[in-house]
Symmetry: C2
Subunit: 235 residues, 2 copies
Amino acid sequence: MNYEEFLTNINITMEDFCREAFFENRENIRVKKESTVVKNLQKIFDAVFKISYEKGFQAMSMRDLSRETRMSMGALYAYFSSKEELLEIIQRQGRAIVNRSLQLYLEADTPPDVKLRNVIKTHLFLSEIGRPWFYFTFMEAKNLNPKELEEVLAMEAYTENILVDILEEGTSTGLFQKRDHSLTACMIKAMQQDWYLKRWKYSKRKISVDQYADFVLAFVEAFIKSKEIGSGGRK
Amino acid sequence: MNYEEFLTNINITMEDFCREAFFENRENIRVKKESTVVKNLQKIFDAVFKISYEKGFQAMSMRDLSRETRMSMGALYAYFSSKEELLEIIQRQGRAIVNRSLQLYLEADTPPDVKLRNVIKTHLFLSEIGRPWFYFTFMEAKNLNPKELEEVLAMEAYTENILVDILEEGTSTGLFQKRDHSLTACMIKAMQQDWYLKRWKYSKRKISVDQYADFVLAFVEAFIKSKEIGSGGRK
DNA sequence: GTCTATACACAGATAGAC
DNA sequence: GTCTATCTGTGTATAGAC
């Protein structure tokens, strides 16, 4: 699987994101015509990602957002009741989509090494499609209320556990060496995150997401497959 | 070298940080008595790190800072002329110390594999001593003015190049395999960063910085030393 | 549905007493 | 050196016209 193949399978657009956000928040959105809402939510979310990328969500004023979307303050508040709610809508909707997409690729009954490749690639490719959201959710996590923050941490734990389970399965079938699977999963996640956190670096060097994915996989496989390892690797 | 040994060699305290910050910014600080300044800068910086960790520097108001330090607004402004200057002082002072400390450990004329271990450990141990600062500088980089931001990016490039140079030296002496050294350096940095960005995770699991360092080293060495690697690893 | 105008709280910053 | 009191701009949010 490469990124192009992934795209033909998954097919999530910003428009889907906005349409789903509309259905999920129907009662709080004063405007009722679907096409209008979707169009404007798209403008709003794009602007939030853009401004937040430059200066952070806290530092983004509603006047900034109004300018960037070319909508008045009054119009904006027809789509959410407060700046905090706007943040929550974006976070929740993103999590829902990521969750659903990961699930899709987990069902396949394949050997652990293939499963590991698929999970790592899926996660990277997802973060490539939804890069603005992934960056946003990482940087703005601390601005969430306790309940939402808990959801974010649960998500982090969930994706990490997926990796740990695969690594353990691999060890038990003899495909992988014995390692500290929990720490290995952390390292994998750290490498995945770097892809969307330091995007400027990789863009400048013209590294494609496929190259990056292959590199991460080679890196990880060297560790869990090679036998001559120093004391640090063992549990 | 482990963390304890490192500490006995390096000996940087928060007090040193504040004293140096005082000397560097003497002309802008209205208070002149050294002991008073150092004592209060310590209160101020500690409070900035604490509040920023919880809600970010932008979201921290000067009234928050006044409450946390138990100093009045007026007193605070005797130590810096604006909130932005406060940010710059902290960023600059931190960079100066990190730079100097890395230099110290680079001079030793040792083989590449030993050098790699030392550099990775030094950087991790440094980020352990100055964890609040490392976290702060990562999360608040986007709030810097262009000139300061450039300095931060230069620092990132500098530490990455140190790694690349060592890796290349190792390849030329036959100690390491041929890999994409630039990407390998990125992965190392990503793993180093995870240590201070996700501190809550590692604290909860009672992973010490020594354990973490050994694990990262084992992970990296498996990749650059083992011969059987998929296509992704090669340049 | 969208706009303009505005309410009102709170931000950063300073003056001047002590 | 530090405090209190206060200035002025900007923040989020809303009311009511169109």
